[in-house]
Assembly symmetry: C2
């Protein structure tokens, strides 16, 4: 099987969404994916896309993808964030993930970023072991903090009512 | 003391850099800040800035800042990342951090993002306690993974030499 790694087009977004869902299942959050294909098309294309996506193409179908975007680190400057790297379940163990990972690292170099960053679940030992073999550093003393839309609305209602009774 | 929270201008970047360095000292990484004022001006202004920055202004000086940028979550869509929130050491305990935090949350709502995300060191209990009081969720089962410039160059040299000897 010959695999081409290339930039995703709008037409690939259906396959990309399928892979995002596969990863969410693997990460034990099958209900977590709230986005749809239209949003991927809308935010991933155009003049100022929010992300870029590489796909692994067999010529017949898309069997993997890596989704990245730029961030800004106040310590090192421009950085690249690897949001997702997924290979279709049936195609795992063939080196396709490595091809995608290498493409991301080459892209980071070409874009002259100072760091590539991503997150990994603490029980995902196959991934952790792969990342460490490539020289990546694991930081275990940071927690992620999140305010989702519902919590955000609740908090804003709370501070606004507080302000108005002052 | 009356505090105004406003968008940072190019002229504020010297104060912003000072605050970034204060935070790095607090986070026990005093040598971590490799960026300079020029980079903050270059990447934080113009048509497609990599970040936006809010400052807390007493009219006399900048006493705090919050630096944010957009990200893309494959689970929920457009999100806002809070990279740094810092109050000058002498000015802590006066509610300035809360003013900045509230501004970030109002901005997130105005921009219709689906999530605000940031990271916090596991020993930073005052910050963690504040975030939890506001309703934020802490995720403790993710590790950060990073490939910095040096490690990236090393890895690319390794895979390229491997490719050329095949």
């Amino acid at each position: 099987m010959s695999i081409t790694i290339r930039n995703a087009t709008a037409q690939d977004m259906s396959s990309v969404l399928q892979l995002i869902k596969e990863l969410a299942i693997y990460e034990k959050e099958p209900e977590a994916v709230k986005i749809d294909e239209g949003l991927l098309r809308e935010l991933g294309t155009g003049d100022q896309p929010l992300f870029q996506c590489f796909v692994a193409d067999t010529g017949q179908k898309i069997v993997g993808m890596a989704l990245v975007y730029f961030r800004f680190s106040t310590w090192v400057g421009k950085s690249l964030h690897l949001e997702d790297l997924v290979v279709a379940q049936k195609e795992r163990g063939k080196g396709i993930g490595t091809l995608l990972y290498n493409e991301v690292m080459r892209y980071a170099k070409a874009q002259q970023v100072k760091r590539v960053e991503w997150v990994v679940l603490d029980w995902n030992t196959p991934a952790i072991s792969f990342y460490q073999k490539t020289g990546a550093r694991l930081l275990k003393d940071w927690y992620l903090a999140q305010m989702d839309e519902g919590r955000l609305n609740q908090y804003l209602a709370q501070i606004d009512s507080h302000t108005s009774t002052k």
